[in-house]
């Protein structure tokens, strides 16, 4: 009984202390702390400009989500149903875009598709200077492309984890009854995958909805989302009241979407027999299989090409290839107070990411159990736990400052504030990956174990853990990734000795000069290397402990 109570108290306390309390603190402050006035809301809802921003934010998120699913599904299929050499590494590479700083990704796109990029240079070579040119920078198209680029890994990871434990028997039966490949997919596989599809789609949607960097850096201010408007109102126009009202409008929208989703999610889950991975992988391969696989792999490489362009630029110097920029990173020419050795920077990123991952796994798993057990109102509880993703990062960031600024909890200047902020964005990923599996788990499994005399702890370790293990690893991967790539929280701190890789990259890009750019890209290349190793390590962890699941 105590264990059960702890299980509920833990995640609820975390949410209350590190989300609801700082949010309430900053909103109280924004609205003047006195009596409530509806004026700021009228400023927002009575202004066609803000209404336009709301509408734009909604529809661009919808289009981005659709595009992301289209890109992500074939890759999810590849990883779910096929075993091939180099799979673990390819899977790690697939997830890299998710952690890259937006400004760096923008440079990757420019290097490929910009006015002087590879594609346009090639086109000019073929058709001359007056021939056709690709023009995508600073357009809406590139925002959609970038959202898909950033978020398709969410679809790939969550769907493929679910898919790879899904018995192929349903599909085989359908085929035996005469259904074609397409019909089997749309009528059997797709409905079975629905819980994981919805799970990843809602994450992608919320991420696109609250998108900040991608929209700003690649699209420019004409395409401002609500998050962008909140930032400008807070930091540049000092209209905290209007910013607060807009942040609440944003939260209302994301909560509404999350509620609709949790309703759908609860309906779509049916108890499913999960089978070990080995039983699912396709062993026999025909020519058709190979062709499909090859096409998907090539497509994947195209998606990843902006990253390749970055690495290429990081190792270029003075017309040839060299490691000049990497060497430059390790030398402190100017004796600056803010110089931090790249090794220290990498170590900071790794330790913060590991700490965030542990907290996110604990909170996320416990929260998933809380949600599953609340049969009646599980949708509301689920949406509440997801809310940290839907709130404005600027608002919450300043909320942390206002909330945790005196003893006994003065977190300012402490690295904990960073780790907590990262876990807050990371644990929803754990929930979204674990919940579909938990819901699909047939109740008789636990019941039989309990009847046979197993304690709840034993049931968890021997029955439930092996089944949710794969989902937990997906959650762990994203928790690690969220923390590795997070830049916004630097607003909250950070003492120079806590500099992380994205912060160091951005600092280098704060000054003009070829070698600053080169070193920033070298730093990003190191980020990719470290994260790839991290992802592969997380993946390996599975095989050691929990076998086929």
């Amino acid at each position: 009984m105590t264990a059960n109570r702890l299980l509920v108290i833990g995640p609820v306390a975390f949410l209350a202390a590190f989300f609801l309390y700082p949010l309430a603190a900053i909103l109280g402050r924004s609205f003047g702390g006195g009596e409530f006035s509806p004026d700021p809301f009228w400023v927002v809802l009575g202004d066609p400009y803000y209404l336009g921003r709301i509408w734009f934010t909604v529809w661009q998120a919808a289009v981005s989500t659709a595009l992301t699913l289209i890109v992500g599904l074939p890759v999810a299929y590849l990883f779910a149903r096929h075993e091939f050499p180099g799979k673990t590494v390819l899977k790690a590479l697939t997830t890299l875009p998710f952690i890259m700083p937006t400004i760096v990704v923008a440079m990757g796109f420019i290097a490929l598709l910009g006015p002087q990029g590879l594609v346009n240079t090639a086109l000019a070579g073929l058709f001359g200077d007056d021939g056709p040119q690709v023009q995508v920078t600073n357009t809406l198209t590139i925002i959609f492309m970038a959202h898909a680029f950033y978020n398709y890994a969410i679809v790939v990871r969550i769907v493929s984890a679910f898919w790879s434990n899904l018995s192929p028997r349903f599909g085989e039966s359908a085929a035996m009854l005469g259904a074609g490949r397409i019909r089997t997919f749309t009528h059997v596989t797709l409905p079975l995958l629905m819980p994981s599809l919805l799970s990843s789609a809602v994450l992608v949607f919320v991420f696109s909805f609250t998108s900040f960097g991608v929209v700003l850096v690649l699209g420019g201010p004409r395409f401002a989302t609500l998050e962008v408007s909140i930032y400008e109102l807070t930091v540049k126009l000092f209209r905290l009241d209007v910013a607060g009202a807009l942040a609440l409008v944003q939260l209302a929208f994301t909560s509404a979407f999350l509620l609709v989703y949790t309703r759908l999610q609860a309906q779509s889950a049916v108890p499913i027999t999960f089978v070990p991975v080995d039983a699912v992988m396709r062993k026999r391969r025909g020519f058709r299989d190979v062709a499909v696989l090859a096409a998907i792999v090539v497509g994947l490489l195209v998606v990843l090409s902006p990253l390749v362009a970055l690495v290429e630029r990081a190792v270029s110097s003075g017309g040839g290839y060299s490691l000049t920029h990497f060497v430059g990173l390790f030398t402190d020419d100017r004796g600056s107070y803010f110089y931090v050795s790249p090794l220290m920077v990498i170590w900071n990123s790794i330790r913060f990411a590991l700490a965030s991952m542990v907290i996110a796994l604990a909170v996320g798993t416990a929260a998933s159990y809380v949600i599953v057990r609340r049969r009646g109102r599980s949708g509301v509880v689920d949406a509440l736990f997801m809310a940290p993703l839907g709130v404005s990062a600027v608002t919450l960031g300043f909320g942390f400052l206002v909330a945790f600024n005196r003893a006994p909890i003065d977190l300012r200047g402490s690295w904990l504030i960073l780790v907590i902020a990262h876990s807050l964005v990371a644990y929803p990923f754990v929930i979204r990956s674990v919940l579909p599996v938990l819901r699909g788990m047939p109740p008789h499994l636990k019941e039989s174990a309990a009847l046979l005399g197993a304690t709840p702890l034993n049931v968890f370790i021997h029955v439930e853990l092996p089944i949710i293990a794969r989902a937990l690893l997906v959650g762990a991967t994203f928790a690690f990734a969220v923390s590795m790539g997070e830049f916004g929280a630097s607003l909250l701190l950070v003492r120079p000795e806590f500099t992380t890789i994205p912060v160091a990259t951005f600092r280098l890009l704060g000054q003009p000069g070829e070698s600053n750019l080169g070193q920033a890209l070298a730093m990003s290349t190191l980020l990719m290397a470290v994260v790839t190793v991290g992802f592969v390590a997380i993946e390996r962890f599975r095989y050691r402990n929990v076998g086929g699941f």
């Binding site: 264990a3 702890l6 299980l7 833990g10 995640p11 202390a17 900053i26 400004i103 440079m107 420019i110 910009g114 006015p115 002087q116 600073n138 700003l216 850096v217 420019g220 201010p221 401002a224 400008e232 930091v235 540049k236 126009l237 000092f238 110097s317 000049t324 100017r334 600056s336 107070y337 803010f338 110089y339 542990v358 907290i359 604990a362 909170v363 798993t365 416990a366 159990y369 300043f398 400052l401 945790f404 006994p408 909890i409 977190l411 200047g413 402490s414 904990l416 907590i420 968890f460 630097s490 607003l491 950070v494 003492r495 120079p496 890009l509 704060g510 003009p512 070829e514 600053n516 750019l517």
Partner: protein, 347 residues
């Protein structure tokens, strides 16, 4: 189940336990914007002289750092805030976040670089925001740098200028203010008419300096040879070139009244723990050793007239006649200008 709950609880307890940290004696915390830079050596010198520990804490860009200081009013996490400039001074003074302090060395600061007459914010450095151009691009296309702002609305410069968003970026706002100074607010052809024409001439607005400079400026893979940047940017290009160069690849366009003098200062936050140490730091920051150190770290000029200017700054020309709009007027009208500008250029 037990495990995860217990782990979560332990985490929380650790958080609370570790969070109760004490403040070290004689610690001086200086909140800065992200672009602040100084030699470690100088900080060590100050620490040794005053037996103190100095912590420099970047807190986002200048606007973010100011909002943070305002939210922490009365209970500041730092003793000093560095990075208040003439576009933010009005706001900082209105909020009364600073204590007054007038260091003796102010006598060495020429009048035009004194930021705050009221004595709350002490000037430390200054710089100029103006247009930069890509020398090779202009040569390849047979263009010569514009000599008036009006030219920018002509066919030669169609689709060739990138500026920063005045509502979110410091150089963006600085350039907007220069156009107000250059064209005036209620002339026949005022600053908004100019921006309307610029928009018609396909000006590109990016949200921040980094994105504008590193993704749209033709020097770095974009297709726009003119960018709003700083007068010291060519000097930085010279110092940070990948291979040593004789002259930088970019140049300054200095049009009278169309460059913006940005003065940055430091102030003691009300309620600071180490007020005396903070005063000593301001004295130190106005001294020549400090003033001669930061130019090549931050690419700004020292306000102390006795400080020598580094050799590389020969590529950072000083505009003869910058925009003449004072900090107080900016404080009164910045919001109005930003909103009118946003209306014309972005909506």
């Amino acid at each position: 189940m037990k495990i995860s709950a217990a782990v979560a609880l332990m985490m929380l307890m650790t958080v609370f336990a570790v969070a109760c940290r004490g403040d070290a004696d004689n610690e001086l915390v200086i909140m800065t914007h992200d672009s602040f830079a100084i030699s470690e050596e100088l900080i060590a010198e100050f620490e040794a002289e005053h037996n103190a520990t100095v912590v420099l804490q970047p807190a986002g860009d200048a606007g973010e750092a100011l909002v943070r200081a305002i939210l922490e009013k009365g209970n500041p996490s730092a003793d000093l805030l560095y990075g208040i400039d003439n576009t933010y001074l009005g706001r900082a003074l209105d909020e009364e976040i600073f204590d007054e302090y007038r260091p003796d060395l102010l006598d060495e600061v020429p009048a035009q670089f004194v930021l705050d007459e009221s004595g709350h914010v002490t000037s430390i450095d200054y710089g100029y925001v103006n247009l930069n151009y890509d020398i090779a691009y202009l040569a390849d296309h047979g263009l010569t740098p514009p000599t008036t702002l009006e030219e920018l609305t002509g066919p030669d410069w169609k689709g060739r200028l990138v500026v920063e968003n005045a509502a979110s970026s410091s150089p963006g706002l600085a350039f907007l203010i220069s156009t107000v100074s250059y064209f005036g607010e209620d002339d026949d052809y005022d600053y908004l008419d100019f921006w309307r024409d610029l928009r018609a001439n396909d000006v590109l607005v990016k949200d921040g300096w980094t994105a504008a400079y590193y993704t749209d400026f033709s020097q770095y893979g974009g297709d726009r040879p003119l960018v709003v940047s700083y007068a010291t940017s060519p000097a930085a290009e010279y110092l940070f070139s990948a291979e040593p160069v004789e002259v930088p690849p970019t140049g300054n366009i200095l049009i009278d009244k169309a460059s913006f003098l940005q003065i940055e200062g430091i102030g003691i936050l009300k309620g600071a723990n180490s007020k005396n140490l903070a005063k000593k730091f301001i004295d130190f920051a106005l001294g020549t050793s400090f003033q001669e150190d930061f130019p090549e770290q931050m690419f700004v000029y020292p306000v102390n007239q006795n400080a020598a200017i580094p050799d590389s700054f020969r590529f950072a020309e000083i505009p003869s006649e910058p925009a003449d709009i004072g900090a107080l007027e900016i404080g009164e009208k910045r919001e109005q200008w930003i909103q009118a500008w946003t209306e014309v250029v972005l909506r």
